[in-house]
Amino acid sequence: MFHRFHICLLTLTLAVACYSPRLLAQDTRGLPMHLGDTGLYVGSSLSQVNPDVLPFSPQYALWSDGAAKRRWIWLPPGTSIDASSPDAWDFPIGTKLWKEFAHGRALETRYLERAADGAWRFGSYVWSADGKDAVLAPAEGIRELAAPNSPDASYTIPSEEDCRACHEGAPVPVLGFSALQLSPDRDPLAPHADRQTNAVDLRSLTSRGLIRNLPPELLAHPPRIAGDPTERAALGYLHGNCGNCHNNEGPLAVLDMTLAQRVAAPSASNAVLSSIVGVQSQFRSPDAPAAEARIAPGHQDASVLALRMNSRDPLQQMPPLGTSAVDAEAVALLSRWIEGLNK
C-alpha cells in the first residue's frame, strides 16, 4: 500500500526523468553519454572551454597520423598532484583529462577520469559532423569512421581495451602529463611540436600549487634528456611514443627493452641505449630478414626498431595500434640518429 511519501517520491523521479533526460544518461562504465556533460565546456557550448580546465602540451607528442590535438586537465578544487615520485605522479580522485583529435574538424575527444575508488575510467566521444554534439563511443570502439580529411579517409575510435593497452603499460595511466613532458626546457627538435595558448608547465603548476612534493632539483634544473640535439630528440620521441609500453616496470619488462626516460634516474638514457644499440632482436622483418639488431649503429636499414617504425603492416608495425600512417618526420629523425652513431 503506497504511502503518500512514496507517491511524492515517484512523482518527483518521473518529473526529473522527463524534464532532464540527460541527467540520468550514463553508460554502464559510469561515464556521461555526452561530452558536454564531462565538464570540459561552459554550459552546453561545446566550444567555450571551462576556465577552470588547464591546457597542456607535452613536448614529445604521440604520433596520431597527423591529427591536430588539444589537451586539457582538470583537478577538483583544493586538490593537487603528489609529485614525490617524479616519474609516477599521484593524481587526486576526480582528476579529469581530455584529448581532442581533429582532421579538418574535431573527430574524437578521449576522456580519462579518476573515479572515487581510485580506478581510472576511459572513454571516447565521437563528434557529429556538424560539431553540435559528441557522444560516447561503445566500449569496443568504432573501426572505420568516415573522415574525408584523414590520411586514408577513415578514422578509428579505439576500444577501451586499446586504451588500456597503452595507458596501463606505464607506471601511471596519465601519459603526456609528467615532469619530462612538461619541462620548461622544451626540445626544439621534437617532431610535431605544438604548444597550446596558456599551456601549463612544471613551473606554472608549482607556482599555482597544483603539484606538491616535486623535488626542488627538477625546478632548478628542469628535466632534459642527455645527449647531442639529435639523440635528445630521437630518445624523446621514443619516450613519448614507445616508452609507455616499453619500460622496465610494466608488463613488457619481460622483453628487456626500455625506451622510457626517467627523470629520477640520471642514467635512464644509458639504460635505453644499452637495451637497444647493438642488442639482438627476437623479431625478424620479412622485408629485411638479415636485420638482427634493434639498433645497428650506422645502419638504419638494418635496425629492426627503425624498420618496424617505418611499416604499417599489421604484423610488424610499431606502434602496433593507434596509427595507420608512418610518421615520416620521426623515421627521418631516427635514421639521422642511427646513421650518426659510432661516427
Binding site: 569496443e140 573501426r143 576500444s159 581495451e161 593497452a165 597503452c166 603499460g169 609500453c245 608488463p251 613488457l252 619481460v254 622483453l255 628487456d256 623479431f283 625478424r284 620479412p286 603492416d313 599489421p314 604484423l315 610488424q316 608495425q317 602496433p320 595500434l321
Partner: protein, 194 residues
C-alpha cells in the same frame, strides 16, 4: 510438536556436519597446476600447439614436443591458393594454418626462456588471451586461435593454465613469424570483440 521440531533440527545439524566432513575430505588445497592441466587437456590446446606426427596407427600428437608449437625445422612452402568456399589449408602437423589472414604458426607455449613463454608472467598471459593482442598490447593474435572462446575463462582459470604451462618441460623451438596474406586472398583479420 516440540518433539517434531527438535527431531527436524537434529536431522539438519547431523546432515550439515556430514556435509562439512565430505567437503573436508574431497576439497583439499587448490592446486592451480592441476587445474591448469585439466583445462589444457580439455580445451583443445594440444590440438594445435602439439605437432602431430605419423605413427603406425595414424597421425598422433608428438608428446615429446608437447605444446611447443610449429617445429622450426619444418619450413612450409607457400600455401595453396584457396578455391571457392574452401578458404583454409592446414599443415599435416596441425601447427600451420593458411587463410585470408596469411599464414599463422602455433606458438611455443613451453617455458623455454628464449623461444617460449619462459619470460612471460601470468599478467602478460592473461592479457594476451583477454585482448587477443600479443603480450596484451602488441599485434593481433591470428586465427585460428579461438580468442573469442578462451577470453571467457575466469582470471583464476587463466592463471591456472599459465601455471601449468610453466611447469611442463621447456622445449627450445623458435616458431617462425607469421606470413602476410597473399594479395588475392587478403581479407580483414577478425578483431576480438567484433
Amino acid at each position: 510438536m516440540k518433539t517434531l521440531k527438535f527431531f527436524v533440527f537434529f536431522v539438519l545439524v547431523v546432515t550439515a556436519s556430514f556435509a562439512r566432513a565430505d567437503e573436508a575430505v574431497s576439497a583439499g588445497p587448490y592446486d592451480p597446476v592441476a587445474r591448469g592441466k585439466y583445462l589444457v587437456s580439455t580445451s583443445g590446446c594440444h590440438d594445435c600447439h602439439t605437432p602431430f606426427k605419423m605413427t603406425d596407427k595414424g597421425p598422433a600428437p608428438d608428446m615429446e614436443r608437447a605444446l611447443s608449437g610449429h617445429p622450426e625445422q619444418f619450413v612450409m612452402p607457400p600455401a595453396p591458393a584457396p578455391t571457392g568456399p574452401w578458404l583454409v589449408s592446414i599443415a599435416a602437423t596441425n601447427t600451420a594454418f593458411a587463410g585470408p589472414w596469411g599464414v599463422s604458426f602455433t606458438a611455443n607455449l613451453t617455458p623455454d626462456k628464449e623461444t617460449g613463454l619462459g619470460k612471460w608472467t601470468a599478467q602478460t598471459f592473461t592479457e594476451t588471451i583477454r585482448t587477443g593482442r600479443h603480450l596484451g598490447r602488441g599485434r593481433q593474435i591470428l586465427p585460428p586461435m579461438p580468442i573469442p572462446v578462451y577470453r571467457n575463462f575466469t582470471d583464476e582459470d587463466l592463471a591456472a593454465v599459465f601455471a601449468y604451462l610453466q611447469s611442463i618441460p621447456a622445449v627450445k623451438n623458435k616458431v617462425p613469424a607469421p606470413r602476410p596474406p597473399v594479395p588475392a586472398t587478403a581479407a580483414v583479420v577478425p578483431q576480438p570483440g567484433s
